[in-house]
């Protein structure tokens, strides 16, 4: 059964390779292949999640035991994000049919396969391969919108992403040059002796900046507003919601397993604070819905980095809660923005035109700001308690910035809400008022329903997140799962 885990990566790739051929034979048949594969992937992962014993397991690909071969490592955290990748791929599936749909759907399948690989892989270089695949598939999908603004955004993203890839590869080379292995569990064993020095720190910095390009880390996030504003909303939702979290997850794993230097956490903390400040202030000044959401996403990711910087993985629960919360909220908000493009002032009167969309916007905004019964409050509350418990001034500064950012966030989100609920100007005809409707509204409604369900079930969800966080924090468990017969490792 555990071997089926590889299918969640292999089948989307297979589908992507065959889709251009099959779509030429029969479009009616071809359009169902992608959704069917992703639905099957969801079923496999859901099955593993529900029937599994909640114990992590490792799958050796190619039958070669790690560290010689590559392994997939599936603990509850990895399974959760792999499931999210397949599910969101299904939700944000590019249904639109035109002459490019075969290529677009193939690229989407590649993106989902790569995201699943990022969540599951237990090998540093394999992670890099999937990271590259995510990047290249994204280039194509962003450029697929075909506008010149999209091309310009893609070029900028291409260059930054290229710099990031080179830095990542450099970091991996440093690590391999020092230790001679690439397996994460093996590295976790060797790291205390071989990587707790300047060289390890340099490798970590290269990896942080390199992978940070996708995780919207300050200062390598300049691609974010343009790409999210020009790509299709569904793609922006997938990138902002999921891919950024996966990049974050890799950095988190590296931090927990390999790099224990206090300097590493400090760098993350400072960059996180800068990300929060720059992102939230830029969002406050943004004149357009999608740009505002993109900048706000940078700010939110900055908050996640602050949580990640807490020593000894204490912030694990906060990172997990905030990441999942942001995943749901940002996906929903981007779906709402689908109908609400253009300048913010144009949105006057849209609450009367589509009351459900306006209600959802207020719900998402309230949760993002952290209104008490909603899940966003609990996520932020976890982080505040952890940060307040620290004695170092830098963490307290992080706390201050975080609280101030919340105020700014509330200011710009409610400004938009106020515009939406204003009455439409007299001189405009009713059909000029932008409406959020159809599929995007239904998708946003799905995320809204998920948010409300989480609010009602907050206690069991919180308990489950706590178990997941505890499991992901356990380095010995990771090593013992990948190398079952390691002598001398404490159980």
């Amino acid at each position: 059964m555990n071997g089926a885990l590889a299918l969640t990566i292999a089948l989307p790739l297979l589908g992507a390779f065959l889709l251009p051929v099959l779509m030429r034979v029969s479009v009616a048949f071809g359009v169902w292949i992608g959704p069917a594969i992703l639905a099957y992937g969801c079923w496999i992962l859901g099955d593993l999640w529900l029937t599994g014993s909640m114990q992590p397991f490792s799958v050796a690909l190619g039958g070669f035991a790690p560290p010689l071969g590559i392994n997939l490592y599936a603990d509850t955290l990895a399974l959760l994000f792999a499931l999210a990748a397949q599910l969101l791929g299904l939700i944000f599936w590019p249904f639109k049919l035109d002459q490019d749909s075969a290529r677009r759907q193939a690229l989407m399948l590649l993106l989902v396969a790569a995201s699943t690989g990022l969540a599951l892989s237990g090998d540093l270089f394999n992670l890099y391969v999937f990271y590259e695949l995510t990047a290249v598939a994204t280039f194509g999908l962003v450029a697929a919108s075909g506008t010149s603004a999209a091309y310009a955004a893609t070029i900028r993203y291409l260059i930054l992403s290229g710099i990031g890839s080179v830095l990542t590869l450099f970091g991996i080379a440093l690590i391999y040059g020092q230790t001679g292995t690439l397996n994460l569990a093996h590295l976790a064993q060797l790291a205390p002796e071989q990587l707790s020095n300047e060289l390890g720190l340099a490798a970590f910095l290269s990896l942080l900046i390199g992978i940070g390009v996708k995780a919207e880390l300050f200062p390598v996030n300049t691609w974010v507003p343009e790409v999210y504003a020009t790509a299709s909303s569904r793609l922006s939702a997938f990138l902002a919601g999921l891919v950024s979290k996966l990049a974050l997850l890799i950095i988190l794993r590296l931090l927990l397993l390999v790099f224990h230097q206090p300097e590493a956490a400090q760098v993350i903390l400072i960059l996180g604070i800068l990300g929060v400040v720059s992102g939230e202030l830029a969002a406050w000044r943004a004149k357009e819905m999608r740009r505002m959401l993109a900048f706000s996403s940078i700010g939110q990711l900055g908050v996640l980095f602050i949580a990640m910087a807490l020593p000894d993985g204490q912030g694990m629960l906060a990172v997990l809660a905030l990441a999942l919360h942001h995943l749901v909220i940002k996906s929903g908000l981007f779906m709402l923005a689908d109908g609400w493009g253009g300048a913010l002032q144009r949105l006057r009167g849209s609450a009367a035109a589509s009351p459900l969309a306006a209600g959802l916007f207020v719900l998402f905004s309230l949760s993002l700001v952290g209104m008490p019964p909603l899940p966003g409050f609990w996520a932020k509350f976890t982080l505040i308690t952890e940060l307040a418990g620290q004695t170092e001034p830098l963490y307290l500064m992080g706390l201050t910035v975080f609280l101030l950012a919340t105020v700014v966030e509330a200011a710009y989100l409610f400004r938009v809400a106020a515009i939406i609920y204003q009455s439409a100007p007299q001189e405009r005809r009713p059909d000029e008022i932008p409406k959020a409707g159809g599929l995007s509204l239904a998708t946003a409604g799905l995320f809204g329903a998920g948010l409300i369900a989480t609010t009602l079930l907050i206690a069991p969800v919180g308990d489950r997140l706590q178990t997941i966080a505890a499991q992901a924090q356990d380095v010995d468990l990771y090593i013992n799962t990948v190398f079952p017969a390691t002598p001398g490792a404490s159980q």
Binding site: G3, A6, L7, I9, A10, L13, L14, A16, F17, L18, P20, V21, R24, V59, A60, L61, G62, G63, F64, P67, L68, G69, I70, Q99, D100, R103, R104, A106, L107, L110, A113, A114, G117, F125, N126, V129, F130, E132, L133, V136, A137, F139, G140, A143, A144, G146, Y151, L174, G177, Q178, T179, G180, T181, L182, N197, E198, L199, A202, L205, P219
Partner: protein, 228 residues
């Protein structure tokens, strides 16, 4: 502002490189995984070319990832280039030597390309290198006669099925109760043409996919250029 940031970044990177260069132990690579693979590879995969046993055996999923990256790049290029209306044939034909030479070189390059693919498990070379030579063989006639067109539908057919067969070989192992992409059918004929089980099949798939992908990409670029 941008210049200053760039300068600061480059300066910081340079300083970091200098600092760590001092601490590196040159000339003594840590062969932790390397020596283990060197000792076991011929027995475990049946390939005399150790690089091949790593590329298609120990790290086969990485190779699948690389193939997917190439595919994603080709599909993205197709999305961008496919929008322009192309009317090839405006370029002048190549000279006599190029045209005749292209005709003569085509079979030779095909032979070399396939030779390198089929011997990938024995000698240096393999699917990626051979595939590029195949693509060059198809692109040479296109240089000689810019009006000639490659059959994009045939190429995408080869591309799709070659990529699919790589995964299907991997799934076959899974269906037999082994791990995904585990090498099968390893014979006891180390060093011969028919050895190393399914690895040569995987390399053939890689070679065809790389060849078809590059050929269609190059011809697409050539056609787009011709129209401007």
């Amino acid at each position: 502002m941008g210049n200053l940031t760039g300068l600061l970044f480059a300066g910081g990177l340079g300083f970091m490189l200098l600092a760590i260069a001092g601490g590196l132990d040159f000339g003594a690579p840590p062969m932790l995984i390397g020596s283990a693979i060197q000792a076991q590879a011929p027995a475990e995969t049946g390939a005399t070319n150790i690089v091949t046993s790593v590329v298609l055996g120990y790290r086969a999923i990485d190779t699948l990832g690389e193939l997917s990256i190439l595919f994603a790049a080709a599909a993205s290029a197709g999305l961008v280039l496919g929008r322009r209306h192309t009317s090839a044939g405006t370029q002048t034909e190549g000279g006599f030597i190029l045209r005749t030479g292209g005709g003569i070189l085509f079979p030779l390059m095909m032979t070399i390309g396939f030779y390198i693919i089929f011997h990938g498990h024995l000698t240096p070379g393999g699917g990626f290198q051979g595939g590029v030579i195949l693509a060059a063989a198809f692109f040479l006639p296109l240089l000689a006669r810019p009006g000639a067109k490659l059959h994009h539908s045939t190429l995408s057919l080869i591309e799709g099925f070659a990529g699919a067969s790589f995964i299907l070989v991997g799934l076959l192992a899974l269906a037999e109760g082994k791990a995904f992409l585990q090498p099968l059918l390893i014979q006891d004929t180390l060093g011969q043409l028919f050895s190393a089980g399914t690895l040569p099949l995987l390399y053939l798939a890689v070679g065809l996919k790389v060849g078809a992908e590059l050929a269609s990409l190059l011809s697409r670029l050539a056609q787009t250029e011709a129209s401007q």
